[in-house]
Amino acid sequence: MLTPFDESRPIFQQIAERIEDDILNGTYAEEDQIISTTQFARLFQINPATIVKGFGLLVNEEIIYKKRGLGMYVTVGAKEKIMNKRRERFYNDLVVNLLDEAKKLGMSTEDVVAMITREKEKLDQ
């Protein structure tokens, strides 16, 4: 089945992440209505209950909220909230792992910093 989701971990979490990505990249602005459960189900051929669960995660984190009878809307301040959460994850998942791996390979912190600086310069050119 065609699905952009990784079938080996819970889909509802990936649905929440996808909506978060859409808020970060500007697909949805604050106070915009997001895609409906039915549309989402049809688009990706996913059981509606799974989507409701994914949206539920975001409602709990106050990233989206329900307007009764209308649908789900992006909360004011949602983008900031997601960015803070992602920064924390960036540190935990990427920075910590990066330094662990560097240590295994016998690289110093200075080596790592130098590599990052070099790469950033290349990108900026």
Binding site: M1, L2, T3, F5, D6, E7, S8, R9, P10, I11, F12, T37, T38, A41, R42, F44, Q45, I46, N47, P48, A49, T50, K53, N97, D100
Partner: protein
């Protein structure tokens, strides 16, 4: 939620073979279920009994609160068989007309839309249809019946990839607007993995597992690394399968893993990955076999 179907300790023998062995399961309203099992696991026998085609040797089947007696056909139930036997000389449109009379919730508009989506010519006779097109006629009836309990037995057999996609899409679309209880019986697991909410896994006529698919995705992990670290990690956890090579090995673990457990395991050089439903099913069945 209300129970739509109740199967209680149902058994059926063919000669000396236990086709279904003291099996129990409940289906709630507004849910799509998967009935998974290998060929010959007893799926079709179970479905025939639910649909009233054959009667169990023992046990009870209750559909919409009414217990099935011998010869009863459950009301408000549409069973799309793997080998549907519509009259060979009937045209597709005649078959649809019969179905329209038979199912009280029949939606003629949906049926005519599906004719187009599934590329079926209503003037064709059933005997002129390919295996896949014949399946599609059954699937169309299953969807347009909007029966509160709809059962599909191997609905995509003989269909090409495009038509399979169209069937699943039509199913999800219509279900999203008209929720009901749907049971999809299949051995093609990865195709229905995102469509179903809950699965029943059966093997040799018995129920091996009954679980939410999202729960399985959360719990099933493939952990690999050095055996010493692996032993420590799997202690107290349910292991479905274990395999080794030299000092290293891998285990299929069925257990929740917290963030701190995960990072600790990674510190010890273990790798933790998810397991797709299809793989999980294979390991589960294999494990059942070695215990026989």
């Amino acid at each position: 939620m209300n129970t739509v179907l109740e199967v209680k300790n149902v058994s059926k023998m063919y000669g000396r073979v236990d086709a279904v062995n003291s099996l129990s399961l409940d289906l709630a309203e507004h849910t799509i279920y998967g009935l998974l099992g290998r060929n010959g696991a007893g799926k079709t026998t179970l479905l025939h009994m639910i649909a009233g085609g054959i009667f169990p040797d023992s046990g009870e089947i209750t559909v919409h609160g009414k217990r099935l007696n011998k010869g009863d056909v459950p009301t408000q139930c549409c069973y799309v068989r793997e080998n549907n036997h519509y009259p060979k000389n009937a045209r597709v449109r005649d078959v649809l007309q019969m179905a329209a009379v038979f199912y009280p919730n029949w939606d003629a508009k949906l049926a005519s839309q599906l004719l187009g989506i599934f590329k079926l010519n209503p003037r064709k006779k059933m005997r002129q249809l390919s295996r896949g097109m014949e399946s599609m006629v059954g699937n169309m009836i299953g969807l347009a019946s909007r029966a509160p309990l709809t059962i599909f037995d191997e609905p995509v057999l003989g269909l090409d990839v495009l038509m399979r996609e169209r069937f699943y899409r039509a199913l999800i679309e219509d279900y999203a607007e008209y929720p009901r209880t749907i049971l999809l019986s299949t051995h093609l697991i990865d195709e229905i993995a995102t469509v179903v909410e809950k699965v029943f896994i059966i093997e040799s006529g018995s129920l091996l597992m009954e679980e939410d698919v999202e729960h399985i995705r959360e719990y099933a992990h493939l952990v690999s690394g050095l055996n010493s670290a692996l032993d420590e990690f799997v202690a107290g956890k349910k292991v479905l399968h274990r395999e080794g090579y030299g000092n290293a090995g891998m285990a299929i673990v069925y257990h929740g893993i917290t963030e701190s457990e995960r990072s600790q395991a990674e510190q010890h050089g273990l790798m933790i990955e998810g397991v797709p439903l299809q793989k999980f099913f294979a390991y589960l069945i294999e494990e059942g076999q070695t215990h026989e």
